[in-house]
Amino acid sequence: MTSVIDYVPGNTLLHRLNPVTKLAVAAALIVATLLADTYPLLVGLIVLTLALGAYAGALRRLASLLKVLVPLAVIMLALQTAVVRTGAPVAAWVTTDGLVTGSKACLRLLGVAMPLILMLSVTKMGDLANACVEVLHVPYRYAFTFTTALRFVPVFSQEMTAIMEAQTARGVEYDTRNPFRKLRLMLPLCVPLLVSSVGKTDATALAAEQRGFYLRTRESCYKRYPLVARDWCALAACAALVAVGVAL
């Protein structure tokens, strides 16, 4: 069972950065992408993300994400060309302005989606939560809620798969080739899934309380997450990246 946010083990500089710094790197890449307005920078940022991914051994993860994103980007390009009709015509309804805005929107989509996934895949959820509590002073209960929600994603998707298998074995046509029909068949299953998720969440809350959840403070954590020299360097690089985004 692998999902896009599963941890990719490793010991690269990227892995060793403070989780908060990694969040900042992802945020800087995203902000720079949103601010950037030239092709070289937009493409450069995507290449930078891919290069970081390759360095951290998470390139395969990004590739599987791209498989989902690229078709989406193409649809976006088509829509943009249909909406933006100014500029010189190229072919059919497509105009130069349409192509330019459309292609930039595509590149932005790719540039925005990848950094966060990359950073999450080189960070253990527990470390991320603990570091956010220690460094950013996020209240622990929010951090816990967030990590628990992320942890439940694969649990529930497994549950959904098991439910669909059970229903298919009864004769429900989940093996149909028609995606709309499949979707319509899936809707009634939301209720059983919701019932089981509420039950699970309640049980987790009880288990957490029975292990002293309410006693926890910012100082409780056994591991420490100080910002060290490499983190400050990375943060400086982040600031520079955003500045470049503003400039270009």
């Binding site: 599963d6 253990k124 229903q167 009864r170 004769g171 699970k200 049980a203 987790t204 006693l215 056994y222």
Partner: protein, 598 residues
């Protein structure tokens, strides 16, 4: 015992929410330090509620009305917080995935240690100590999602153990585990109890484990404490337990039954195969017949096909299927591997004829569930061929195979999706194109037969009843092949028997039944033929009594033969070859009676 009770319930009653029905009804109970207490009873007896009272979840987490007093280490649980109760009582609940709060084993253990403010210089010692005690030191850096059920269960115990509770309360820790892992969990608990002096209270349906490991057994029925004593005292009440719907270890049934027949004086029952063997050997020692040397009487050495029918007149006689019908299930050299792991099955060949009831046994991960998925088409073979009811599963969509093959899954909740029981049971028929009115009529008949409330929502029913709804919707389809994946897990003894009797009737009417099951007693009671799997391969396939009497196969598959099979094998070696191949309690008892009174 002189030391004061660590847990004391004084006339405790509890009802959930605004309901009037009492989940617990006037329970008074003392648990002393160092005890290993097993709690059993039919579904709905209040076992989980009792665990919730002991751990403080009642009254702090579950709303309802609580009467009486529950004292943990002298403190009334109403007056101290749940967190403070948790310092004394560690609790492991039924749903092991929901129990976890972290994604990595180490973090899971750290969570409690950090929260309770354990000194940071002690943390490492406690953490590695707990992991070592439970025997999972090598799992420290593993992601919890990648662990097996038994490993997760151990992580949950270790996470509680690191907090050094004085009492450990566990709610059916072995429900999802195979026999070997179940025994390991109990061995771990027993070791904690003995070496660390931790008091253990464990809810458990597997009576053989209770009788082997616990120092005291409580039997609950209808929210009350029905029996309380040592395993020997409790299991002496065989008929009373049966009336409540609680199983007894088979060897206890043998000695209880011998007492009922007047062969021995009524008294404490046998709790292990060794004890039962000794008892019967003693009884028959006076007859003057010298047992033959072991090698000559061992049933597995003799021509296998003959042992069950000829060596012993007491083995169950297989139903006579007159002209042998053509197989309805055929697997030819089937292989399948899950992508990214070595798991799966290889070189599996198997044929099943209409009317056969085949048990499939083996450890978790042996390939049993993969086998069922290959049969209902959810998985397609990578090599070889699977033919079910004349259909090659590679050529027909799963939803069409469903007309011929019905599957009862381990968790009924995944099968249910309708608002009423009636609609639920009729749903499968409608999917196969049966006319709406006709489907409802047949569904109503099936619901009535199982005594199910046709108008109610399936989700409002108890776990056992939901399993019955799922079963009814399988039966109503009148399929040619029925697949059962752990049909009895989560059910009490009585529900289990109802399910299995129904399955047997279906087989008698010509349906081929393939049943994956961890409960060897159920398998030996109902299956005529047993397939043993290990590592994705079929190790043995043959009549149940014969397969269970092959210790080499049992050991290779990490399966423990049912108690009666072990007993008859031991007796065949030590006392008389006539015991060979007997698989039922009544068979042993009748033979002993016959031999004692010539």
């Amino acid at each position: 015992m002189s030391s004061p009770a660590i847990i004391r319930l004084e006339d405790v009653s509890f009802s959930y929410g605004d309901r009037n029905a009492r989940a617990l009804d006037g329970i008074s109970l003392e648990v002393f330090p160092g005890e290993f207490v097993g709690v059993t009873g039919p579904s709905g007896a209040g076992k989980s509620t009792l665990a919730a009272v002991l751990s403080g979840a009642v009254p702090h987490h579950y709303r309802g009305r609580l009467y009486g007093a529950a004292l943990v280490d002298g403190h009334d649980t109403c007056e101290v917080s749940l967190t403070d109760i948790a310092r004394t009582v560690g609790s492991v609940t039924q749903d092991i995935d929901a129990q976890m709060v972290a994604s990595v084993v180490e973090d899971e253990l750290l969570f409690g240690l950090e929260n309770f403010g354990v000194d940071h210089d002690q943390v490492e010692g406690r953490l590695s100590g707990a992991l070592e005690t439970v025997g999972i030191a090598e799992l420290r850096d593993r992601e919890i999602a990648t662990l097996s059920g038994g490993q997760k269960q151990k992580v949950a115990v270790a996470a509680i153990l690191a907090l050094r509770p004085r009492v450990l309360v566990l709610d059916e820790p072995t429900a999802a585990l195979d026999p070997a892992s179940s025994k390991l969990i109990f061995q771990t608990l027993s070791q904690l109890n003995r070496d660390e002096g931790i008091t253990v209270v464990v809810i458990e349906q597997k009576v053989a484990l209770l009788s082997e490991f616990c120092s005291r057994v409580l039997v609950m029925d209808g929210g009350r404490l029905a029996l309380d004593g040592t395993p020997r005292e409790v299991f002496a009440h065989g008929s009373e337990l049966r009336r409540m719907g609680v199983d007894s270890p088979r060897v206890a049934r043998v000695s209880n039954s011998l007492a009922e027949h007047g062969v021995i004086e009524p008294g404490p029952p046998c709790l292990s195969v060794g004890e039962a063997e000794e008892l019967i050997r003693g009884l028959l020692a006076g007859r003057g017949e010298v047992p033959l040397p072991a090698a000559d009487t061992a049933p597995c050495g003799a021509a296998p096909g003959t042992t069950s029918s000829q060596a012993s007149p007491h083995a169950p006689v297989p139903r006579q299927a007159e002209p042998v019908p053509a197989p309805v299930v055929e697997l030819r050299d089937v292989g399948f591997a899950y992508p990214g792991s070595g798991d799966g099955v290889s070189h599996v060949s198997l044929t099943v004829r209409p009317g056969e009831l085949v048990g499939v046994v083996g450890q978790n991960g042996a390939g049993k569930t993969t086998l069922t998925k290959l049969l209902n088409g959810l998985l397609r073979p990578a090599s070889g061929e699977v033919r079910v009811a004349g259909i090659d599963t590679r050529e027909v969509p799963v939803s069409r195979i469903a007309a011929h093959v019905a599957t009862l899954f381990q968790n009924p909740d995944r099968q249910l999706c309708k608002d009423t029981v009636l609609d639920e049971v009729a749903f499968g028929l409608e999917l196969q194109g049966v006319d709406g009115d006709e489907a409802l009529r047949r569904a109503a008949a099936a619901a009535e037969r199982f005594g199910l409330p046709a108008g109610e929502s399936p989700f409002s029913l108890s776990r056992g009843q939901r399993q019955m709804v799922a079963l009814a919707s399988v039966v109503v389809m009148e399929p040619q092949v029925v697949l059962l994946d752990e049909p009895t897990s989560g059910l009490d003894y009585r529900e289990c028997m109802t399910v299995m009797e129904t399955v047997r009737e279906m087989a008698e009417r010509g349906c081929a039944v393939i049943m994956v099951c961890h409960d060897m007693e159920v398998v030996s009671d109902f299956a005529e033929r047993v397939v043993v799997m290990a590592g994705g391969r079929v190790l043995a396939d043959g009549p149940a009594a014969e397969v269970f009497s092959r210790p080499d196969v049992m050991a290779a598959a990490s399966v423990e033969a049912p108690q009666v099979a072990q007993l008859s094998r031991a007796l065949a070696r030590s006392t008389s070859a006539e015991f060979a191949g007997i698989s039922q309690v009544s068979g042993i008892v009748d033979l002993v009676e016959e031999m004692v009174r010539p």
